[in-house]
Amino acid sequence: MQRLIPTGRKKKCFIKKTLRLTLKATAAILSRVSQSLLSVNPDLNTNSSKKPKFTKCRSPELETFSCHWTDAVHHGLKSPGPIQLFYTRRNPQEETQEWKECPDYVSAGENSCYFNSSFTSIWIPYCIKLTSNGGTVDEKCFSVNQIVQPDPPIALNWTLLNISLTGVHADIRVRWEAPLSADIQKGWMALEYELQYKEVNETQWKMMDPILSTSVPLYSLRVDKEYEVRVRSKQQKSENYGEFSEVLYVKLPQMNQFTCEEDFYFPWLLIIIFGISGLTVMLFVFLFSKQQRIKMLILPPVPVPKIKGIDPDLLKEGKLEEVNTILAIHDSYKPEFHSDDSWVEFIELDIEDPDEKTEGSDTDRLLSSDHEKSRSNLGVKDGDSGRTSCYEPDMLETDFNVNDIHDGTSEVVQPQRLKGEADLLCLDQKNQNNSPYHDACPAIHQPSVIQAEKNKLQPLLTDGAESTHQAAHIQLSNPSSLANIDFYAQVSDITPAGSVVLSPGQKNKAGMSQCDMHPEVVSLCQANFIMDNAYFCEADAKKCIPVTPHIKVESHTEPSFNQEDIYITTESLTTTAGRPGTAEHIPGSEMPVPDYTSIHIVQSPQGLILNATALPLPDKEFLSSCGYVSTDQLNKIMP
């Protein structure tokens, strides 16, 4: 049992210790809480009561004054001490500035201090303070002349001045008297007044300017309405107005029973609406009228950006190459070529197939071997200019030159071309103009034109075929005939001279410009020009080949047999192969007649020999040969 601790004693000690600890803790906690609470709300100092504060000090007549404060709110445990007001006057006569207590706590009401005239000095600063339980709660300093707020005016009344003729409006005069407290007669106070009035059922008071006199007229009041009037006063030099007087009710006598019910309100809204609608109608009339002048005045047309020779659609489509070519044409060559032909300004070309670009123009191939690029798409369209039957050789020439420029061989090729053409066509003899091309020029244009129209004119001629180029230029129909839609014509024969005879019925027109260089050949080969088929087999062509120089031509492209309307220029360019022997048709429509045939040999500068491929096997296509199958061949093929 030694181990047994005397629990009683220990218990006591333990209990004491715990008690002490708890007391300390609670004290600490309480102090902390109270501190925090005090910091949060300092009002807690005064037993959770609101601090009294001065609300206002007022002197109604510059002879006495009173000060008011808020009542203290008592929530606390202790009963509040009395609130006291002390004041002091900073008077030089009174050297001691001791605080004196308020002389009158009653006269001005609760929580107020009233200073009568004996305690009031006007121009001497006062300081007052509120105390509660010995502690200063609030303090304020002022001079009495600064706290003047006069009493409200008294004895408001009104008199009728006059009524309007219509009996709708009336004028009245409102009179009042100065407050009794203010000593106006001795001049101690000078007041000014402010009047406010309104209709009975309105909420907003109308204010008038401050006035010094005690009466004021009110004009143009409506007879059928009741009005309320009130006045307040203030000392002339101070800022604070006194309280408002009692409200004066003004009820005007209704003399005339026939008063208008409503005022006439000028129908501004109607006028505005009608005015706007009228203006709108007029505007629309102008806009949609056919009178262009007025329309142009109001809506001047925006000039479409137009460069001669350039189709705006080109710009839209973004085909800069063509635009560039056209621009180059304009810039470089326009003055040179267009000066004479003022009636022709634009070429109308169709652009249909951008794929044609890659295939190049026939004339390109005819002219030089370098022209592989395609400048086929000349988007030259201008609705303003008339379509010219004779397409400007200049355009094409420049076009080609542009191509050449792009290729870099402009200067070189052109003279060649020109020379060759001149030689071939003997145009310099006959048709010497600014341009080497004359009425027979359409031929020149044809290839490019053909391309432009995307007739899928396959370039069958190589670039070297200048003569063929020439022939093509010449052969194709008259410009006049080309003025119509059909500026392609089937070439029926080629003269040895290099000119192309066109079918139907257009033969020999191109021959006008021909040079009769090889009349014998012409005669020889001009036997059967009247044929529809303008294709010549190589063999046949060879018959007619005179001593005319040959032109090396490389055959390039496949024949395209798509279009049947297109007449070959290339083939027809063969100068020699004019023999109609080749004009044998394929009988009937069993076999489509190809329009183009690849050029195999260019034996002369003036002619092209078409590729005469070997006849295929019977079951192969028949179209591989020169475009048609002779009867013998056909018999071979077909059983």
Partner: protein
């Protein structure tokens, strides 16, 4: 004193307008043209003009004080420090209506004249000091200049009134001496500000006093206590 340049246009405009308005009414009276001994200008006109002038001066000084207080000394509690230390306190001025009614007319007028005389020098120095500031506040300076000029005019008018009310008055130039110039020029900004504050506060108070006294006198002399 670092008095910043303030937007003075509003107050200057007000000053101009009020000046114009006053100029309409305060036409320079032909003060005894030809040097006549007794002017034909009636007392009534003199008093009317004097009241207008005093009213105008009081307005100006109130504005000047409030501007100064708002800009420089707001919240510093100078009002409590403004112990009744105006230099004109030495003059026995009535402090309420009763006292004012007990004083005689001529004493009253003499008193007013003394007060006005006492302010000649302080106003002159006020203008000089404000003008010589580096960044002189235009509003305060213009008002001070105007107050100085109008006070001179009022003094002339009051002296005329005095000569009419009390012709036998000897020219005793009783006035309070102002010695506040050194305090206006103190280096310490706080003390300097307080000196200006005090001066302007006293000016406002004295202009109010003069205005009140003149209205009292006018009603008493002209209207026989029945304004």
């Amino acid at each position: 004193m670092n008095i910043k340049r303030s937007p003075w246009k509003g107050s200057l405009l007000l000053l101009l307008v009020s000046n114009l308005l006053l100029c309409q009414s305060v036409t320079p009276l032909p003060i005894c043209p030809g040097g006549a001994v007794r002017c034909q200008v009636t007392l009534r006109d003199l008093f009317d003009r004097a009241v207008v002038l005093s009213h105008y001066i009081h307005n100006l000084s109130s504005e000047m004080f409030s501007e100064f207080d708002k800009r420089y000394t707001q919240g510093r509690g100078f009002i409590s420090k403004a112990i009744n230390s105006c230099h004109t306190s030495s003059l026995a001025t009535p402090e309420d209506k009763e006292q004012a009614q007990q004083i005689s007319q001529k004493d009253f007028v003499s008193l007013i004249v003394s007060i006005l005389r006492s302010w000649n020098e302080p106003l002159y120095h006020l203008v000089t000091e404000v003008r010589s500031m580096q960044e002189a506040p235009e509003a305060i300076l213009s008002k001070a200049i105007e107050i100085e000029e109008q006070t001179k005019r009022l003094l002339e008018g009051m002296e005329l009134i005095l000569s009419q009310v009390h012709p036998e008055t000897k020219e005793n130039e009783i006035y309070s001496v102002w010695s506040g110039l050194p305090s206006l020029q103190m280096a310490d900004e706080e003390s300097r500000l307080f000196a200006y504050y005090n001066l302007l506060h006293c000016l406002r108070r004295d202009s109010h006093k003069i205005d009140n006294y003149l209205k009292l006198l006018k009603c008493r002399i002209i209207h026989d206590n029945n304004c």
